[in-house]
């Protein structure tokens, strides 16, 4: 008797474990769906409904008004106003084409240097782009710049070995966590007329150059690249390190040239990651807000600026209408891309990344054109990525008289003597780290389960995958207002019940909702690249779907999971707009919230807090990558 009891318990526990294992994926999916329903669809729905319901009556009037307003849609507004007048529209298109002229001239594009460059100018008669047109235009340019600046970094990090490579790879996404105001101040401190770069050039007797004044649009695009090129790079490195090079060797042994093997074997394995990076960059920069206004001004305003303005003026209907149009555009692009990604299924069996060459093995190699190009890129990266951050750090230690520690003295004094109604630095750091780790723990399973459920499932999977990308495709301002109206104020339910969610748990879940798409987008391309036969054979040998996932697939896509986890952490650390709403009136404030609250007539205290944010985050990234690195191949 006494012997059989533990046995029965053991077998009972075993049965529960077996049941859990059979249903693990389904359960995770259930929880994921529940979280999304409450923390995403509900708050967003609360605001979006304002666009289509006017005093209880469904209406499309707000859409009609926005779509036919030339301020928003430029020349397209006429088309939307009278879509059937095809003849008229073709007529005006022909008139426009007839007025295009092309000219060739010599220009001197580099300030201060007399190098003539033949310049092909296409002179088009002005077309009114409208707010949406301009927003898309600057987003497209920002995407090009981000890909152009991100790919070389990915190439170097994935193919060369050098001292500090892993640390550098961990730090690539550091720009991601900086609050917009810090990026703006950092860019002015680096590229301003009295900034760091002009200071350095001044030593060589050059300048000062008006980098920002000469072309604010260029600076805005570079600031967007500052945020997003690291995103492209990190996604691409994860894919590059998962490339199955044995296929390259096979191709080479069959007589393909190195170039041919790269083009036919490696590029198709990288393309999904690069395109994912481009897609995300386009969506983010389409919905950009503080950067354009801070560096470019109102002349470069985007749709998001008007959404902010309409919310401020309590015109929720127009704000929601604009936000829905943004979301439709973003989700449309996402769907188009995901259709492409889902047909890219490969037959990769295991990552066998390319062997890494030493970057500078000897002097002769160091002077080869390829190595010199790498040095050139390193210089650009130093100026564009390190420059603004380093200038911020320097700024936190200076005032009108030179070196000072007073900004840090402020932080210390606040920590030691601050009152309960004030914001203290250490709790902000502690909260940020706690929320970051908790977000990572929630977002990674959410993201992976969506990848698993949607990979290789054809059109229906693509639709679910697209809808699951909603957190990226919704205006941050609208999401914040939705959280406030829906969850902080509470929603009345039938029977006198009320649903209300705030505080630390709400912050973590809101962060996880914003972060899991990054996990999915890092993991999905690698997952669909795997040979499905491997899972099928594991299943045929009796493994549950969960076992097959954990033992076969996940180890093979570990690079993507680690990259996704790092992003999830970064999103949580950097998130501001919903955190500030959910933390209102509590002690759950985070580092970016503290930066904002310390911002007064003197910027020093806020910049010192921003520097702490940078240091704490940098240290965390290195730790995450080191811990995660154990699981990588």
């Amino acid at each position: 008797m006494s012997r059989s009891r533990p046995g029965r318990i053991a077998s009972g526990a075993g049965r529960i474990r077996a049941w859990l294992e059979r249903n693990a994926i389904r359960l995770t999916a259930l929880v994921t769906a529940g979280i999304l329903a409450v923390m995403l669809y509900l708050p967003v729905g609360v605001v979006f409904v304002e666009a289509v319901v006017d005093e209880g009556v469904p209406t499309l009037g707000h859409f009609a008004a926005v779509l036919t307003d030339p301020f928003y849609f430029g020349v397209l507004a006429d088309v939307f106003a009278d879509p059937l007048a095809v003849g008229t529209h073709l007529g005006s298109l022909a008139g426009w084409l007839a007025a295009v002229s092309i000219s060739l001239s010599l220009e001197y594009p580099i300030p201060g240097i007399d190098v003539p460059v033949p310049w092909l100018a296409v002179d088009t008669p002005g077309v009114r782009q409208g707010l949406f047109g301009f927003t898309a235009y600057q987003a497209a340019l920002s995407t090009l710049a981000s890909v152009a600046l991100g790919l070389p970094a990915a190439y170097i990090l994935a193919n060369y070995e050098f001292y500090g490579r892993r640390t550098l790879r961990s730090l690539t996404i550091l720009p991601f966590v900086l609050p917009g105001i810090m990026v703006a101040v950092g860019f002015y401190a680096m590229f301003g007329r009295a900034g760091t770069l002009n200071g350095i050039l001044g030593v060589a007797g050059l300048g000062p150059f008006a980098f920002i004044e000469t072309s604010p649009l260029t600076i805005v695009i570079l600031a967007h690249a500052f945020y997003n090129a690291p995103l492209v790079a990190r996604l691409t490195v994860a894919a590059w390190e998962s490339v199955d090079t044995r296929t390259v060797e096979t191709a080479r042994s069959l007589g393909a040239s190195e170039r041919r093997a790269f083009r036919d074997i490696v590029v198709p394995q990288l393309a999904p990651a690069v395109l994912t990076g481009a897609l995300l960059t386009f969506i983010f920069t389409f919905m950009t807000f503080p950067i354009v206004l801070a560096l470019g001004g109102l002349q470069l305003a985007t749709v998001e600026v008007w959404i902010y303005d309409r919310i401020q003026r309590l015109d929720y209907a127009e704000a929601a209408t604009l936000a829905i149009l943004e979301t439709i555009l973003s989700l449309g692009l996402t769907y188009a891309y995901l259709r492409y990604e889902s047909v890219q299924s490969g037959f990769s069996q295991a990552p066998s990344p390319p062997p890494k060459e030493a970057l500078f093995p000897d002097l002769r190699t160091a002077l080869s054109p390829r190595r010199l190009a790498i040095c050139g890129y390193g210089l650009v990266a130093l100026v564009l990525f390190v420059g603004p951050m380093a200038s911020l750090v320097v700024g936190s230690f200076t005032d009108g008289t030179g070196f000072t520690l007073r900004n840090y003295a402020f932080l210390l004094e606040r920590q030691l003597e601050g009152a309960s109604f004030q914001t203290l630095p250490l709790p902000a750091i502690r909260n940020s780290l706690l929320f970051g780790v908790a977000t990572l723990a929630v977002a990674v399973p959410m993201g992976v389960v969506i990848s698993v459920l949607t990979a290789r499932t054809g059109r229906s999977g693509t639709i679910i995958d697209t809808l699951a990308m909603l957190p990226l495709a919704v205006s941050g301002i609208v999401f914040g207002i939705g959280l406030l109206q829906g969850l902080v104020f509470g929603i009345s339910l039938p029977g006198g019940w009320r649903l209300q969610i705030t505080g630390a748990v709400a912050i973590v879940i809101a962060h996880a909702v914003a972060a899991y798409p990054f996990v999915t987008r890092n993991v999905s391309p690698l997952l669909s690249n795997l040979d499905p036969a491997m899972v099928e054979s594991a299943r045929a040998l009796g493994a549950s779907r969960f076992r097959a996932l954990v033992d076969v697939e996940l180890p093979l896509v570990a690079n993507g999971i680690v990259a996704g986890a790092a992003f999830a952490f970064a999103i949580s650390i950097g998130e501001f707009s919903s955190t500030v709403i959910l933390a209102s009136g509590s002690e759950s404030y985070t580092m970016p919230v503290a930066v904002e609250r310390y911002l007064g007539r003197r910027s020093g205290p806020a910049i010192a807090m921003g520097t702490l944010l940078l240091l704490v985050t940098a240290a965390s990234f290195v730790v995450i990558d080191r811990v995660g690195g154990r699981y990588e191949l």
Binding site: L30, A184, A301, F489, S584, G585
Partner: protein, 378 residues
């Protein structure tokens, strides 16, 4: 198959997720007040409530460097040993959060709002009923209310707000690069081409104040033409004061910025050379931006609020608020003693202008939007 699983999961998960965070309204009324608002002592809390004044205010009043809020709390509690001030951080949506709360009949917790501008009152009245959200002040209960300087009246027909300090928007320029602009028309002259940094009136208080100043100068039929000329002369309108001042101006991007007439107080404290911190008052004017305090309609502690208002207008608090906030006192000079340094570096314009409640009412949103659409010019 998988799709069906997923859809099933959506509905199932929704119920799971909801379960944890539901409260019933009945519960909320009986227990919620006791637990939720943090006093937790049942009926005993009513008494302590009488002596606590909850004041909501903006960040720099309590959280920046050397803020006035903690000083006010300590000094007021010294004077009224039974009373307690409880500061509350202004929610990120500012006055809008309270407008939304009032229109949806939700409780508003704080008693007093410190930091109210005229346009906030206009926003209240445009969205709620006239004279809503705050109560009409009983001036008899605020002895010192007649100390307030002429010209700071915020023009509220319902008399809900009392100013406690004011700032003047002016131009700050670098005298080594440009001469002092004397009129608004000077700013459109070639001498000042690509010289001026301003702020977006949609996203910035000083930006909106500068726009209203030009509306005061050129009228609502003329201001857009004036801004057209400013735009042709290369004005740049950045997001907010920090970006334009610490970002662009202090990195020498341009020689002139829309800022405050107390600029030199900061500049001298920072150890900066004052050549880049000269104050210009175009048309011999500055735009006054008085900040006021008001009592919420449902305040539980009106008597204490009046005591607090009277205290704020007394001599020492007026000096402390002015110097810590780097604004000007709201009372006449004879009722406040400021440090000599402050007097030396804080400049008062020869004439203070402001667009009052009556003119803003029903116009402000349209003025700003017409301007912003013209400036964006996409």
């Amino acid at each position: 198959m998988r799709r069906r699983t997923f859809l099933g999961a959506v509905s199932g998960g929704a119920t799971l997720g909801l379960a944890g965070c539901l409260t019933q309204d009945g519960d909320d009324d009986e227990n919620g007040n006791g637990n939720g608002s943090g006093n937790g002592n049942g009926s005993g809390s009513e008494e302590t409530d009488d002596n606590t004044l909850t004041v909501v205010t903006y960040e720099s009043m309590i959280d920046g460097e050397n803020p006035a809020g903690p000083w006010l709390k300590e000094a007021f509690e010294d004077e009224h040993p039974d009373a307690e001030i409880e500061w509350e951080q202004l929610p990120s949506q500012g006055i809008n959060q309270y407008i939304d709360s009032a229109s949806q009949d939700r409780d508003i917790e704080p008693d007093v709002y410190l930091g109210l501008n005229i346009d906030d009152l206009v926003r209240v009245d445009d969205n709620l009923e006239d004279g809503g959200l705050f109560r009409e002040l009983d001036r008899d209960q605020i002895e010192r209310s007649d100390r307030v300087r002429d010209g700071l009246d915020m023009g509220d027909p319902h008399d809900r707000v009392l100013p406690y300090d004011t700032g003047y928007i002016s131009l700050v320029y670098d005298e080594s690069e440009i001469d002092e602009p004397e009129t608004f028309d000077d700013l459109t002259a070639s001498e000042y081409e690509d010289a001026l940094l301003a702020q977006n009136a949609q996203t910035s208080d000083p930006g909106q104040a500068f726009l209203l100043w030009t509306i005061d100068a050129f009228g609502e039929d003329g201001y857009l033409d004036y801004w057209e000329e400013l735009a042709e002369n290369g004005v740049r309108t950045l997001e907010d004061w920090t970006e334009s001042y610490y970002g662009a101006y202090m990195e020498a991007e341009r020689p002139m910025v829309v800022s405050y007439s107390t600029d030199q107080v900061f500049a001298s404290a920072e150890g900066n050379d004052l050549t880049r911190h000269q104050i210009a008052f175009p048309n011999d004017q500055g735009y006054a931006n008085p900040e006021g305090m008001a009592i919420f309609e449902d305040a539980s502690n009106v008597g204490l609020a009046y005591d607090f208002f009277d205290f704020v207008l007394s001599n020492e608090p007026q000096a402390e608020i002015a110097q810590r906030n780097v604004q000007f006192p709201a009372v006449e000079d004879e009722y406040v003693d400021l440090d000599d340094d402050f007097d030396q570096y804080a400049h008062v314009p020869p004439e203070a202008v402001t667009v009052g409640y009556d003119d803003l009412r029903g116009n402000l949103d349209e003025w700003v939007d017409d301007w912003a659409q013209q400036m964006a010019g996409h």
